[in-house]
Symmetry: C2
Subunit: 245 residues, 2 copies
DNA sequence: CATTACCCAATTATCATATAATTAGACATG
DNA sequence: CATGTCTAATTATATGATAATTGGGTAATG
């Protein structure tokens, strides 16, 4: 049989086939359309369903397995893993989950974690930051004061600020939490770009505390920043703010 | 050409070829043998190196890419991502990293995070735990009192205890941190199984606090447990304790 | 009846090969 | 210098085999 070139019908098939299969199955699993109890389609059937070759399906399966969403074994086939097994901190999984949960709940969970991590991270930064780390935090803050509040540059600068603090904490695991924060900031800005302007000064206070090498102040100011942001955004989310996309 | 059956020469090739390639490349990347600057071998060369077909190599590449270790693009080929991009919370990555770092440093990082997470998790558990959650924590503790301190059952019971507390916090992201804790406990027990017996009573105090619905006490007792464990184990690690394997 | 040993069919694992799609970099052109 | 065009390198996808694994059925055994 001659090779069937892949035809992109219907909606713009921008990303490649592999990415499409991964995302489609990933979101279905997280939405609960496919559960550990349901029998999962075998590779051949998945291939038919997506109009993809077995190669693509298998690669997608490996990708999802690496994220803890599924498991694939000889003879048994593929099965969905229980939610406790999912790598929720994986950026993809995080974003799929964001699309599948009520925003208020998602945001609530996210901030609960941020509140555990970031105040202490700020304190560590105040203790351990090198001059270059502080310079980076300061630069990020300077950028925040310049950008247009409702541009994506605002999100970038904000993220840069928070990441720089994590980096200054000199703990690789800590730094990794940047993914979580990125999603948190994204939601914040999507929900209300006003928040950026409102909480800009508090960012400055965090910077000052770190600069002053004052761990307690760093912890307190960061905690205040997060608590107030959470309250602000949660209020907006509850007022029937729907998200784009 | 007729198909070459795969021959397992040399050391026992227990896991399948795919898993072997993933682990080999993964550890090499994390050890720094392959950096973002080095040119990464192309699929064909990897296939030759491992004596594997392109399919297996590609599946391994997708698996590593899902963990944020590498990126693969048409024409550019494969490249190692900078460490900040790695999904360090992924259980595999975590364990590879454990094998590639000085134990004291690894343990230090790990406990810094545990200290951010678990005391607050215990406090949340004291507030939110359902009766069944408390029963599970209690049962785990009961099991801890029964098992032989230097058995793997001890690790299991210990992990069960800590996981149950996370679960009682009613935050999926929190629960996810169980992976981190698992590795932490594993190291603790490997380093000194005495720690299990020494800190058993303090576990009981945490349980009591949660049972009493006293968030502050839960936080304090958990914090004490972690701090003392860290001190105890770090001391042993510095005394030239080498790990197995 | 219970337990063990064996076999079979289902499913993934691996291999081999061919073609399609993408794109970095070279090169030409203005 | 900027911009467009071409080409070769590399991954992306497809196809069709064969190998390896194993859950569950079935027979043999005690």
């Amino acid at each position: 049989m001659t090779k069937q070139p892949r035809l992109a019908l219907g909606r713009a098939q921008k990303r490649n086939l592999f990415a499409h299969v991964v995302e489609d199955l990933g979101t279905r699993i997280i939405k609960g359309d496919l559960t550990p109890d349901d029998p999962f389609p075998i590779e051949a059937d998945l291939g038919r369903e997506f109009g993809a070759s077995r190669s693509v399906i298998r690669e997608a399966v490996k990708s999802l397995a690496a994220r803890g969403l599924i498991e694939s074994k000889t003879r048994t086939g593929i099965r969905v893993m229980p939610p406790t097994h999912w790598n929720l901190l994986d950026p993809e999984v995080l974003s799929w989950r964001y699309g599948a949960m009520p925003p208020v709940q998602f945001y609530g969970e996210l901030f609960e974690i941020r509140l555990m991590i970031e105040p202490q991270a700020a304190a560590l930064a105040a203790e351990r930051a090198h001059a270059s780390d502080i310079a980076e935090i300061a630069e990020a803050f300077a950028e925040m004061t310049k950008v247009s509040p409702n541009s994506t540059a605002a999100i970038d600068a904000d993220l840069r600020f928070h990441r720089a603090i994590l980096a200054a904490g000199k703990n690789a695991l800590l730094h990794q939490m940047g993914h979580l924060i990125a999603v948190g900031l994204y939601i914040s800005h999507q929900t209300s770009s006003d928040s950026f302007t409102v909480f800009l000064p508090q960012h400055g206070k965090v910077l000052d505390a770190i600069r002053a090498r004052d761990p307690q102040a760093a912890r307190r100011t960061m905690e205040k920043l997060l608590n107030e942001t959470r309250e602000f955004i949660t209020g907006h989310l509850k007022n029937g703010r729907r998200r784009a996309k």
